[in-house]
């Protein structure tokens, strides 16, 4: 078995609202990623994808608070470290995080090269300006980015280029885990493709040892990551390889998501496009039983009252449902 790069055990984090209520938006999440692998996280907006990404950095700021669980990055447990240590020794070097609007995070008054200096200085690495410059140039060349971008201000770069530059800057220290939260959603399809290509390149060249990729665009996830994990109401509801998840989803929610995929290729016009009725539950008062029961067309009375555990069915496949795999597959077949 390959080396585990990220091992998250029963991680729970919560938001404390203005009125002082607790909202557990990441609820006992366990996941592992092996070296050289990537994991995609899918789900509707408000299901806890982005909160999970923030929580995995181990760096919490209000209103997000840590509750319980462990985050182990390449054998090092980063939970319980004080924020300063995390910022200096974990962020950037062990875990790198790219938020959706990352390309707008560059200070427009400074040149791109300066940001790389900042990263090096923040980690107190013994390098002088010349060495940093050399390293930056090498990295940009390796990733197919124009080296003269280092001497430009962020506003001189196009949106797609800016996003790629941000990713290059934030992975300069070869992080063990790269967490990308919708890194390409704000871009047009061509720039998106370029960003994805660069990220896959970084994985292939070993610059980034493992990756978590979050998006609501399932076709993208299918093409980018090895595994896909579906989240619903702060919990993992299913995990499997990308292929399994798209063509053979087990959980009714995953199935609902996969049946909303529309791509411009042959056969799309004959797809039976389905909807999941209703909206995700309010996590201030989560449902007693299965969190999806209210929107699930296969839900029984028992589903509404029994907590569902995450079942391991072998081959890296997990799902959280009261029905057996066979039963669900049978029902699905009857529908088509």
């Amino acid at each position: 078995m390959a080396k585990l790069m990220l091992d998250v055990r029963q991680l729970t984090t919560k938001y404390i609202t203005r009125t002082g209520e607790d909202v557990y938006s990441v609820d006992h999440v366990s996941l592992t990623i092996e070296e050289g692998k990537s994991l995609g996280i899918a789900g509707e907006s408000g299901c806890g994808k982005s909160t999970l990404a923030l929580s995995l950095m181990g760096y919490y700021f209000p209103p997000l608070h840590y509750t319980s669980g462990d985050i182990i990055v390449d054998g090092k447990n980063i939970t319980g470290m004080d924020p300063d240590t995390i910022r200096k020794t974990v962020l950037g070097s062990d875990v790198a995080y790219i938020p959706q609007a990352a390309m707008n995070a560059l200070n427009p008054t400074r040149k791109v090269g300066k940001f790389i200096e900042d990263v090096i200085h923040a980690h107190e690495l013994p390098m002088d300006k010349k060495q940093i410059r050399e390293m930056a140039e090498q990295r940009f060349a390796l990733l197919g980015l124009p080296v003269d971008a280092l001497d430009k201000h962020s506003v001189e770069l196009s949106g797609g280029m800016r996003q790629r530059v941000v990713i290059a800057v934030s992975t300069i220290l070869n992080p063990k885990v790269l967490i990308a939260d919708e890194p390409s959603s704000a871009l047009d399809v061509t720039s998106q493709k370029m960003v994805i290509k660069m990220m896959k390149d970084m994985m292939a060249k070993g610059l980034v040892k493992s990756m978590i990729f979050i998006t609501h665009e399932l076709p993208l996830l299918y093409n980018v990551t090895d595994d896909i994990m579906v989240m619903y109401a702060g919990q993992i509801v299913e995990r499997g390889t990308a292929k399994e998840m798209v063509f053979d989803p087990i959980h009714p929610y995953s199935r609902g998501l996969m049946r909303s995929i529309l791509v411009p290729e042959e056969g799309t016009r004959d797809v039976k496009l389905t909807a999941i009725p209703g909206t995700p539950p309010n996590l201030k008062h989560p449902p007693q039983g299965c969190r999806f029961a209210e929107r699930c067309r296969y839900a029984t009375e028992a589903c509404k009252f029994n907590q569902m555990p995450l079942l391991d069915i072998g081959g890296g496949r997990y799902y959280r449902c009261g029905h057996s795999v066979e039963h669900l597959r049978e029902v699905y077949e009857g529908e088509d």
């Binding site: 509707e44 042959e266 039976k272 999941i276």
Partner: protein, 297 residues
């Protein structure tokens, strides 16, 4: 201003998947012309710079047809949609409404034109006046269609019918504000509005792009239903080429203010001719076909 918990207003949902009523590959070229344009152009002047947002486009939209205009941001599709709606005048060219040159020179003529064309916009949260209740939104539509003198009961029955068409319980919406609904519900209320107005043309400007993918089937199904019932023309503006392919009869691909390719959906997507269309299709990630990453810089 989204509230924590959306109103539980849905009727028992019976239609979860999209159903196309009539023949999917119907030939609309024999249908009467609904809206067409020749050399439609719009130029913007800001200071000394001149921007050609829409550059001499020609189009023919037939009755009952569902047309998608596909373009990326900055392609001019929003400007074109505003011209189609009559909110902007073209600087050059002519738009024909039902085979007659469109005339919206006076307020009265504008009002008449707007009886024939209506719109659903992208962002449901900014589509409603937050100070108006749901009842007044719907009542306004009834009044606009000459229902001013109808009795209270008749108006009530009409509003109820419109809401149940989009699977919403009208009884629970009275005295509520639109922002108390979820995004999907708000967009459905927009469709209820169109149901009451019954225009000849509906311009839907990215009506599902702010809504989760798994909820958009409901909206699309309702739109298709509405078209099948009223026979109206739907102009669907989107950047999602997969969605456009799935839903439309014909597709116009727009780049830099020009239509680079137009035709039946099958033809445009499966046999693209213009290089831009080819690139656009190849750049979108797919499920069954491989996604070739080597084609980019």
């Amino acid at each position: 201003m989204k509230t924590d918990e959306a109103i539980k207003t849905e009727l028992q949902d019976t239609r979860e998947s999209v159903t196309f009523g009539a023949d999917r590959n119907k030939d609309f070229s024999q249908e009467p012309m609904c809206l067409s344009g020749r050399g439609v152009t719009r130029v913007f002047h800001t200071g000394k710079t001149t921007t050609v947002a829409v550059d001499h486009v020609d189009f023919d939209f037939h009755r009952g047809e569902l047309i998608s205009i596909v373009g990326e941001s900055g392609s001019g599709k929003t400007t074109l949609s505003k011209m189609l709606l009559g909110l902007l005048e073209p600087t050059e060219g002519q738009i024909f409404f039902k085979d007659k040159p469109r005339d919206i020179s006076t307020n009265q003529k504008k009002k008449e034109y707007w009886q024939g064309i209506q719109a659903i916009f992208q962002d449901p949260f900014s589509s409603y006046n937050i100070f108006h209740k749901i009842d007044s939104v719907l009542l306004d539509c009834i009044n606009m269609r000459g229902g001013k003198n109808k009795s209270k009961e008749e108006k009530f029955a009409m509003m109820k019918e419109a809401c149940s068409f989009v699977n919403l319980k009208f009884e629970e919406l009275t005295n509520k504000y639109p922002f108390e609904l979820s995004g999907g519900q708000m967009q459905r209320l927009m469709i209820a509005r169109i149901f009451l107005l019954k225009p000849d043309i509906l311009l839907a400007d990215e009506p599902t792009s702010m809504i989760d993918a798994c909820s958009r089937a409901t909206i699309l199904d309702m739109l298709l239903n509405l078209r099948n019932e009223t026979g109206m023309t739907v102009i669907f503006i989107t950047h999602d080429i997969g969605l456009a392919y799935y839903i439309s009869d014909s597709i116009y691909i727009m780049e830099h203010g020009k239509f680079v390719e137009a035709g039946k959906a099958e033809d445009v997507i499966l046999n693209p001719k213009a290089p831009y269309t080819k690139r656009l299709i190849s750049d979108v990630p797919k499920i069954h076909e491989p996604w070739d990453l080597s084609t980019v810089g």
